[in-house]
């Protein structure tokens, strides 16, 4: 496939300036310039893309329209008509979501000697966890300390992280790494057992632990294998569509929807853990995403309806370098390593426009400015716009063969489309990456509803307004384990009364009274990527928006 004509002309301009750019470092911009850049071009500052919620615990708070559309929506079931007397599964702990957080929670709950069921939407492990490449943080080296980790964490998060959650994260971190080590996770180590650690964005010590270029996959594989060995009961292709309460207002399980048979199943549980991950597939403001197919904010919707509060949902993390061409891999992650190794960001004319080592929000905003206001982006045949990431510079700077050696997966991926990244630059544009906020929890991973625990990307507070790389894989295990343990303890002392969906009736009533109405249905479960034409056909030829 390689590049089409117009893009090749632009590449020629990039090549022309390359030798002079090699000697040139773009100066960093001042604090004031940063603020102006963010306010004008960072998606979080685009006020028309947000709206205030009309109902629920966060009434009056602004969230992206795409999320508001799901929070302000009715259930797919009719609560009055739903028969709750026919319970299909009864368990002590129900875990919703089979990613890293959910599986860690299930393992830990089971260690307390109680029954656990995991219900997940796709296959077990099909998740954001499996896609994490970079690494996991823990302050376990001599020159480091949990105190330093804490400072880096809250500095990165804009100084609004919830202190108790931040403390839990940094104190539990070494214990989590030890747990993974004992389960047989293959960390990158020196022969004497010392962990090989590197820097990540915003770290003051090298505390990023890795498993080659597949850290998340390795962790997920081992946790899943362990849970299989221990015989943990998993219901896959069975997303939760509603949380159940009992008459006393405690959480009492969930309603699952079998995606294949289209049946509903009732799980009665003494404690429930939501570990449903993020929301990349909402494509906030139309951005492409790095997230997996099932990242549709379901957990937020479910928790919101039973009265749990959300926090920091007005900030979304964009990764500055998502793939903008070829269309086949649109939105996928181009690791920061590429910029770290010297590849510059260059516009359609072949000129640099930002120091590529500025923070992620600044680089994203600068790329967006180049592609919109300044009209210096490169347009692809499918109408996507992006800027060049001048990858051939890596080999020029560090010697030929460096790219192949350090970024083999990326070289392989582009070669599938006849693009040799060691010879030609690649086109990038910011991509929706991480849900900074989520359902507010306390140190015990509990939300405001008794019996309902939250872990992982679905939860909010620990990262403040901005998560740093490597703290998310850590967070899902720290709070996954805390949720599992506390849910088990709670379950062993609680009794569930008769089930009810009264909260849902009330929620529907609020939808009507606030004027939102009952038209929209959520949770989304899966995005619909079928073509526009097939959507029309499905509606019997009616043109839909």
């Amino acid at each position: 496939m390689s590049y089409p004509e117009l893009m090749i002309e632009s590449i020629a301009r990039v090549e022309e300036t390359r030798s002079s750019r090699l000697k040139q470092i773009m100066p960093r911009i001042t604090l004031e310039e940063k603020q102006i850049l963010l306010e004008n071009f960072h998606p979080d500052y685009k006020s028309e893309s947000f709206r205030k919620l009309k109902i629920g615990p966060n009434r009056g708070d602004k969230v992206p329209h795409e999320l508001a559309d799901l929070l302000e929506a009715r259930s797919r079931i009719e609560p009055k008509d739903f028969d709750l007397s026919r319970v299909d599964y009864e368990t002590e702990v129900l875990v919703i979501g089979g990613g890293g957080a959910g599986t860690a929670a299930a393992l830990t709950a089971q260690e307390q000697g109680i029954d656990v069921i995991i219900a997940t939407k796709l296959r077990w492990g099909d998740s954001n966890t499996i896609m994490a490449q970079g690494g996991i943080q823990a302050a376990d080296k001599e020159n480091d300390s949990p105190v330093r980790h804490y400072i880096d964490l809250v500095g990165g998060g804009g100084f609004v992280n919830i202190p108790e959650l931040a403390r839990a994260l940094v104190f539990d971190a070494p214990m989590i790494i030890r747990w993974l080590e004992s389960l047989g996770v293959m960390f990158d180590k020196e022969p004497d057992g010392t962990m090989k650690t590197v820097h990540g964005g915003g770290t003051s010590r090298k505390r990023m632990h890795s498993c080659r270029d597949y850290t998340g996959m390795e962790i997920m594989r081992v946790l899943r294998d362990e849970a299989r060995n221990r015989g943990i009961h998993v219901l896959d292709f069975s997303p939760a569509v509603e949380i159940l309460l009992d008459e006393s207002g405690k959480c009492a399980g969930a309603i699952l929807y079998d995606l294949e048979t289209e049946e509903y199943f009732i799980v009665k549980a003494k404690a429930t853990i939501i570990a449903t991950g993020g929301m990349g597939r909402l494509h906030v403001q139309g951005f492409p995403t790095t997230n997996h197919y099932g990242a549709t904010a379901d957990g937020l919707v479910l928790a919101y309806r039973v009265g749990a509060k959300l926090i920091f949902m007005d900030t979304v993390q964009y990764h500055p370098t998502g793939v903008a061409y070829p269309e086949q891999i649109l939105g996928q992650l181009v690791t920061e390593k590429v910029r770290g190794m010297g590849a510059q960001l260059v516009n359609n004319e072949g000129f640099q426009f930002i120091n590529e080592l500025e923070t992620r929000d600044i680089v994203s905003a600068a790329i967006i400015r180049e592609c919109t206001d300044r009209n210096l982006g490169v347009v692809t045949p499918t109408g996507m716009v992006g800027v060049w990431l001048d990858t051939p510079m890596i080999d020029i700077k560090h010697g030929s063969g460096t790219t192949q050696r350090t970024l083999p997966a990326m070289v392989r991926q582009y070669m599938r489309y006849q693009i040799d990244i060691t010879k030609q630059p690649i086109l990038v544009y910011p991509t929706q990456h991480y849900q900074n906020g989520g359902i507010l929890i306390d140190e015990n991973a509990q939300c405001s509803i008794p019996g309902l625990f939250i872990a992982g990307e679905a939860s909010g507070g620990v990262h403040g307004r901005n998560r740093l790389m490597g703290n998310s894989l850590l967070d899902i295990l720290v709070f996954g384990r805390r949720a599992g343990k506390n849910a088990a303890l709670y379950a062993s002392t609680t009794k569930v009364n008769s089930l009810t969906l009264k909260h849902l009736e009330k929620f529907h009533q609020e939808l009507i009274e606030s004027g939102v109405g009952l038209e929209r249905v959520s949770p989304m479960l899966l995005p619909d990527y079928s073509s526009h034409l097939s959507k029309i056909r499905r509606k019997g030829g009616v043109i839909i928006a």
Partner: protein
């Protein structure tokens, strides 16, 4: 003559084209013909054709192995395989998805999988039936030398199995084509866990730090940080010293 598809796509579409020439190809999904836009991956072509996939899709980025696909191309007798999210369609491609493959996994506790000459044979004796046909290697979408790690497993070479199999997505394609009915990816998983648990040395700095934390060494410092107001925290943050970076390939920013 243009099909309805072509007219619609060029008129109003999610593919805002700047060079309006849209080309179409035929694909046969489970034997049924669909006309789809040229240049898509198998995954996106199925969605273009109207499928709202539940099975056979996960990460959409080549990490999860949910989208294993078997296909044949025009005029070629050979069966080919690939990941639907990573493989481009070709005209007259015949394909079927293989989102699940029945496989047996051995159950063990991690303490009982100490490396030994017969570790793999104990749990997966069928590995001795390998015919060395090399099919597993040829189908692996990660280009792993699957046959070689099976040979290493036969010898009980745990570290070799772990190293050679590390990039495995557990997609199941190797197992689906193996005449000896070996489940390679489970063999590999056993090897990696055994290696990491018993052949890699545990980190002593880790034990030390856990002891320090448990003994309360950092409690006071953290508690006093928690009490600080934002301004004071900002100062501490901006004045913190940063460990110098000496590698040629620094990792910067979030992934």
């Amino acid at each position: 003559m243009k099909t309805l598809n072509e007219i619609e796509v060029t008129k109003k579409s999610e593919f805002k084209s700047t060079d309006t020439k849209m080309e179409f190809v035929n694909i046969f999904f489970a034997g049924k013909r669909y006309r789809v836009l040229k240049g898509l991956t198998i995954l996106k072509a199925l969605e273009f054709a109207g499928y709202r996939l539940v099975r056979g899709v996960g990460c959409r980025g080549g990490f999860c192995g949910a989208c294993a696909t078997v296909y044949r191309t025009d005029g070629d007798y050979r069966i080919k395989v690939g990941l639907a999210c990573q493989t481009m369609i070709e005209n007259n491609m015949y394909l079927a998805q293989l989102p699940f493959y029945p496989a047996i996994k051995a159950f063990y506790t991690v303490d009982e999988i100490k490396p030994s000459g017969d570790l793999f044979l104990r749990y997966y004796p069928e590995i001795m039936k390998c015919l060395q046909c090399n099919t597993c290697r040829k189908v692996c979408p990660q280009d792993l030398d699957v046959m070689r790690y099976i040979a290493a497993a036969q010898r009980g070479d745990v570290s070799r199995v772990a190293d050679l199999s590390f990039d495995c997505l557990q997609c199941g394609l190797c197992a689906s084509r193996c005449p000896a009915e070996i489940v390679h990816y489970h063999v590999a998983q056993l090897g990696r866990r055994s290696y990491s648990r018993f052949m890699q040395k545990p980190s002593t700095h880790l034990s030390k730090r856990i002891e320090e934390i448990n003994s309360g060494k950092f409690n006071n410092e953290i508690e006093s940080l928690i009490k600080l107001d934002r301004k004071e925290l900002e100062i501490i943050y901006s004045q913190r010293d940063i460990e110098p970076e000496e590698e040629i390939a620094p990792k910067k920013d979030e992934d």
